[in-house]
Structure formats: C-alpha cells, structure tokens
C-alpha cells in the first residue's frame, strides 16, 4: 500500500511543481479572455432583459419582452432568412466553385501561379473597400451595366442594389467574389497534401479522372473541405461589413442580416437593450451551429488531432 502511494506521489510531484508555471503563463491570456470575451457576453445577456437606451440607468427590467418583440418583428425574421439564403447559396455554389478551381489549378498549367494570385487577390482587399467599389460598379448605368450592354446583354441589366428582389443576390455575388479565392487556396493546400502516389496508383488500376476524384481525392480532402464549410457557415451567419457599407441592409430591409439588424437597433435607434437581445440570439444560433458541427462533422478530424497529441 505505502509503496504504491509513494510511487503515486512521486509521479504526481512534477505536475504539482508545474502548476505555478501553468497559472503564470495562462493568467495574462485568461485575464484578457475573461475581460474582453466572457465579461461582454455576460453583460450582453444582462442588458437583453432591459428596456434601455444606453444612457439612463438600468432600471426598466422587462424580462423576455425584448425577445418576444424580436421574433414578432417581420424584419428580424426576414434578416434570419437572408442569412440562411446566403448560407445555402455559399455552400451550394461558392464552395463547389472554389473546389473546381482548386482542382484545375492543381494541374500543370501555364500561368498557374498568376491565376492563383489573381483569384486570391479579392480576399486580400478589405471588406469596406470591396463594398465601396462594388457599390460604384453596380450603380445604375455604372460599370457593370456598361459592360453588359457592351456585350449585348443590356436587356438583362437591373437595378442591382435598388431592387428589393435582387439586392440580396447582388450581395451574395460580391460575397462570393470576395471569398471564393480564400476557399480555393484552402482547398488547394489540402489537395497538395494528398500524395501523388495515390492518384498514380488509381490511374494504374485504370480509374478514370472522375473515379479518382470521387474515391481518392474527395475523401482525402474531407478534413479541409469540412473546415472550409465551417468557415463559410460562420461567415454567412456573421455577415456584416460588406452589407452594411454596400446597402446598409436596405432598401426596405431587403438585404438586412442579423448583424446589420442588430447594429441598426443598437446604434441608430439607440435601443441597446433590444439590440443586446438580438446579439444574444445571434450568439445562441452561432454557438449551437458551431457546437453541433464540431460534435457531428468535425469530430473525426478533431479526434485525430487529439490521438496524435496523446501518443
């Protein structure tokens, strides 16, 4: 008994000695995390229960009234739908497009490096600059319309940002323009980690290009693809800067996202309590989606990483 206990203690001692060091190294980061992440979240949750304009003392406790109002407001429901549309379109169009380009630019092509750079370039430009430039390009009889009539498609020109039925798709187009290059580079990096021998082996076995892609490339690209999808989902849920600068959520809320709706209520109407409730909802949705995705989709990838560390 004693010998076992002694053995256990000696085994534990280095760990105990390490504690002060762990705390010492962790403290600064933890403090900043608590102060700038956890504390504001807690405050946001607290404010969400008040009718508060951000100035007067916090006295008008209204319980869940803000949440009831938010879900009764058709423009918030609209904003949620817009986020969902952007999300679905991103997954359905943007990522396959990025994947296609990545596969293409993984081949030996003339000017490959140049094309990679060109496709990646929009991602480097800041979102506000992107939005300002596209707002100019898409204005009535602006550059886009001129180009379209130049190629004989003047019948297809639209009021890209002024038509409430079209504006969301215009925004999606710019989102895609800005981010497909990022996903392309991500997937390209994934593709390059796949050993060429596997594809060569498949080719020797007589697999067609399509079969190789379906049964070799795609499964091995899985982890990268799942990360790409994850970033795309989070990006769609939090979409703000581009929309705010390009359309301000309008016209008539037709391009509102949850984030622009929140800023509009917080900083234009100065209903900080109400806007805090919106932020709690957005936080909740993002959290649930992120956790669910990690639990069911990313689990294999994450587990893999942990096993390596344990060994």
């Amino acid at each position: 008994m004693t010998s076992v206990r002694v053995a256990a203690r000696t085994r534990r001692t280095p760990g105990q000695r390490r504690w002060p060091m762990i705390i010492g190294f962790l403290a600064p980061a933890l403090l900043i995390y608590l102060l700038f992440v956890i504390y504001p979240i807690a405050q946001g949750i607290r404010y969400s229960g008040y009718d508060w304009n951000g100035l007067k003392p916090l006295t008008d406790w209204v319980g869940f009234e803000n949440f009831r109002k938010i879900f009764a407001d058709s423009s918030f429901i609209g904003a949620m739908k817009h986020n969902a549309v952007i999300l679905v379109l991103s997954l359905a169009l943007q990522i396959p497009f990025a994947l296609g380009l990545a596969v293409l630019l993984n081949q030996r092509l003339r000017g490959r490096a140049f094309m990679r750079m060109m496709f990646f370039a929009p991602y480097v430009v800041s979102e506000v600059v992107t939005a300002v430039v596209w707002r100019q390009l898409m204005r009535p009889s602006g550059f886009l319309d001129h180009v379209m009539s130049g190629v004989g498609a003047e019948g297809l020109t639209q009021e890209w940002l002024a038509n409430p039925r079209i504006v969301l798709y215009s925004v999606f187009f710019v989102v895609t323009w800005k981010y497909f290059g990022f996903h392309m580079i991500l997937l390209l990096a994934g593709l390059q980690q796949i050993p060429a021998e596997l594809r060569e082996a498949a080719a020797i076995d007589g697999a067609t290009f399509r079969q190789t892609f379906r049964h070799v490339t795609l499964p091995l690209l899985g982890p990268t693809l799942r990360i790409s999808v994850f970033l795309s989902i989070i990006g769609s849920l939090q979409l703000f800067d581009l929309v705010w600068v390009m359309t301000g959520g309008g016209p008539i809320n037709a391009s509102n996202t949850m984030a622009t709706y929140m800023i509009d209520w917080g900083f234009r109407r100065l209903q900080i309590g109400y806007a805090s409730a919106v932020s709690v909802i957005v936080f909740g949705i993002s959290l649930v989606v992120a956790l669910a995705y990690q639990r069911w989709v990313l689990r294999r990838d994450v587990k893999g990483a942990l096993t390596t560390m344990g060994a």
Partner: protein
C-alpha cells in the same frame, strides 16, 4: 557553422539597435509630455465637431486658436469626425460616462435623452449674457422646459433646389406654389423627357423630408406638435400626407435606382443633380455645397440652380411660411470646465458668425450676421427663415432616435411601394407608443 554564427550575431546586433532606438523614442516622448506643464492651472476643453471639410474645418480651427491665444491656460483639444462616426463614438463615450466638454448636437429628442441621462450641463445662467443675441428659433432647439443646454451656430430650412434651365425647357414659367401645381410640373417635366426629381431614398432621411413636409403642410404646426407629444402619428392628416405622397410616387418621377441612392457620393442624389438631367431635389441648405463637391470642376450647377419653398397643400392646416428644417449647435458636457461656456460664447459672437456666413454653407444664427450670407440661394433660404411663422425641427430629430428611425423606415417603404399610407402612419405610431 561559422557563417551561421555570424548571421546570429548580426541579427542580435540589429535587435539591440532596434531596442536602443525604441528606448530613445520612449524617453523622448516621456520628457516631451512633462515639459508642457505651465504655471497657471491648465484647463483642457475637449471639443467634438463634425465640420470635417473646409470651410468649416479651418474656421473652427482658427476660432479655437484665437480663444487659446486669449486664454493661455486653456487648451482646446479638437476631435473632428464624420457625421455617422461622430454619432456612434459619442454614444460609446456617453455610455462610459465620459461626455466631451463641447459637442455637436441637433437638439430635439436626441438631446432630450442625453439630458435625461444627466450628460449635459444646464448653461441657462452662464450663457444669459449672450444667448439672446442668437435667433430665438435656433435657441429653442437647445432649450428643454426652459433650460438652455447649448447654442446653435447654423440654422437652415429644407426646400427645393432646382435646375432653372430644365424647368424652362419643360415650359414651366414659375416654381409651383401649390402641391397640385407641383404634380402638374412633374408631369410637364416627364413629358419633356426630363427626370423630375432626384431623391436619396437609400439614405432614408431625404425621402422622409417629403412625407414630413407634407405632414407639416396638412396637419399644421399644432397637429405635428400633438403627434410628437402623444405619438398619434396615425391621425388622419398623417395618413393624408402619405396619400398625397403616394400620388407623386405613382407618377414614377425619380431617378433610376433611387431606392439605393445615398445623398452624397458618386452614385448619390447630389451627383444626379450635377448630371443636369434631373430637375429638382428636396434638401436642406447644404445641398448646393454637396452638389459642388460632387462635380469635376467644383462649381456644380451654380449657373442654373434656383430655390423655392415647399408648396402649400390645398385644405391643409399649415401655411407656406411654416418652416421645416433644423440646425447645428454645440451642447456642453456635464463635466466641462466653466471656460467651456465662455468658449461657446465666443463661437456665438457676431464676428465668428459673420465669418461662418461669408464662408458659405452655414447660415449663422447671430442677429445681425444675416448680411454676411451672399450666395444667392442661401440668401433665399435666409429670407424664408426670417419670414418663418413656425419652425418644425426634422422629424427624425425632434422624436427619440427609435421613433425617428421608424419614420425613416416607414417612408422608405412607401417609396418602394410595399406599404400603404395607412400602414406607414400606423408603423410610426406603433414605434412612438413603444409597441
């Protein structure tokens, strides 16, 4: 190996040099800030304004420099921000309980909320010696229940800026005096192949001007005051205002893409006016300046621009001399030193007001400074203001921010054709009653 060592040594050397430079910079900065202490008790006035372009920017800098020269112990720290940025930064500062000493305000509902929260100073007594030199209408914007919280420096009115050449081309002899005449003129302009109206419905507030001015003309001063007080925006005159506006909107008189158009900028409604194919815009006195700044040669449409007031609506309770507009002023933060009010008094002096008037773009409010305004369009606005029987502050500013935003949103929906006049009035009333 040897080469690698050399490389390491070289890197280290550079690192030390960098550290040495940093240390030098740090000490230099440190000693610099210690040197500024003076013998007199130093006072700092933090002044936030939004005149981020000339002539206003320079005028304010000069005014601050002059005051500092006359009061050596006073330092005026100026923070200049663009309008929207100012609003959100101010909000953040107020939430932190740290209002600037002197800051831009439009009076009305926004000021009332700041006063309610105790962020603004009562300057009734401190300003008593000079406040009556200013226009009473202007002062009233910064006066709540008999207490003065600030002073105006600019007071303007909304009206039509129009292209006289295009009106002539369409065969319109004189600007319209009634709403029906305006609608007729819009049709005449359309028939002549001219876009009648430029409106920045993307920014919302320029569209709101249309509904608001109609409301002022139809409900009259008392009707609007009543609605501001009790939220009865769904009363009959306001529905009527929406119906009249709908008649205009149904004529499709606006420039392409007006629903997304901002006021300023290349795709904005001011640029549209500068394009010389659009006849008129309903806007405040700053319009000629914005049109100029959106033109290549900086003169805009100065050669053909004219001004006329909003026409009367037959059967409405309002008269042609009821002014819809507003102004800019400065209010004094709760923690501001007493010198701040002296400085505000200097800003409100006849000398400064004359300079503001001469520089253009500002309509000074100090009595006797009217003559300093020489720009013909501005003179028209000044004369209209002087003859004014009643001043209605911008609806999105006289009401609390939440109601103001609801007015802007609802009117935009009317312009987009997705809400009826009844729905517009109902939505505004609902927001005003906190539903």
């Amino acid at each position: 190996m040897g080469k690698e060592n050399e490389h390491v040594r070289y890197t280290l050397k550079r690192l030390f040099m960098l550290l040495a430079v940093l240390a030098l910079v740090a000490t230099a900065c440190g000693s610099d800030s210690e040197d500024t202490t003076t013998t007199e008790a130093p006072i700092t006035i933090r002044w936030w304004h939004i005149q981020n372009s000339d002539p206003g920017l320079t005028t304010w800098q000069n005014v601050a420099d002059e005051f500092m020269a006359a009061h050596p112990n006073v330092t005026i720290e100026i923070t200049v921000q663009e309008n929207e940025a100012f609003k959100s930064t101010l909000q953040t500062n107020l939430q932190a309980g740290d209002p600037p000493d002197l800051f831009q305000s439009w009076g009305g509902g926004g000021l009332a909320e700041q006063v309610d929260a105790g962020f603004v100073q009562d300057i009734t007594e401190a300003s008593a010696s000079w406040i009556d030199n200013l226009s009473a209408a202007g002062n009233s914007l910064f006066n709540i229940d008999g207490v003065q919280y600030g002073a105006p420096f600019n007071l303007g009115a909304v009206g039509f800026f129009y292209n006289t050449a295009l009106f002539e081309e369409a065969g319109i002899a004189a600007p319209p005096a009634t709403w029906e005449e305006l609608l007729t003129d819009v049709q005449l302009l359309k028939d002549a192949g001219i876009t009648p109206i430029s409106v920045a419905a993307g920014d919302k507030w320029p569209a709101m001007f249309w509904w608001a001015y109609l409301a002022v003309r139809i409900a009259g001063a008392d009707g609007v005051a009543q609605a501001v007080a009790d939220g009865s925006w769904d009363a009959e005159p306001f529905v009527k205002a929406g119906e009249e506006l709908k008649r205009l909107i149904d004529m499709d008189p606006f420039q392409p893409g007006f629903l997304a158009a901002p006021w300023d900028g290349a795709e904005g409604s001011a640029s549209t006016m500068n394009g010389r194919d659009t006849a008129m815009v309903l806007m405040g006195q700053w319009a000629p300046g914005t049109i100029r700044s959106n033109s290549a040669d900086g003169t805009g449409i100065d050669d053909v621009i004219g001004w006329f007031p909003f026409p009367v609506v037959e059967g409405g309770a309002g008269v042609a001399t009821d002014v819809f507009g507003g102004g800019d002023g400065f209010v004094v933060g709760i923690n501001a030193p007493p010198e701040t009010v002296d400085f505000l008094g200097y800003i409100s002096s006849l000398d400064v007001a004359n300079r503001l008037g001469e520089s253009g773009g500002t309509l000074p409010v100090v009595k006797g400074s009217e003559g300093s305004v020489t720009d013909p369009q501005m003179v028209a606005v000044v004369e209209y203001l002087a003859a004014g029987t009643y001043m209605q502050l911008y609806l999105d500013q006289v009401t609390p921010p939440a109601v103001g935003a609801a007015i802007n949103d609802a009117v935009q929906e009317l312009f987009a054709g997705v809400s009826t006049p009844e729905q517009v009035a109902g939505k505004i009333a609902a927001a005003a009653r906190g539903e």
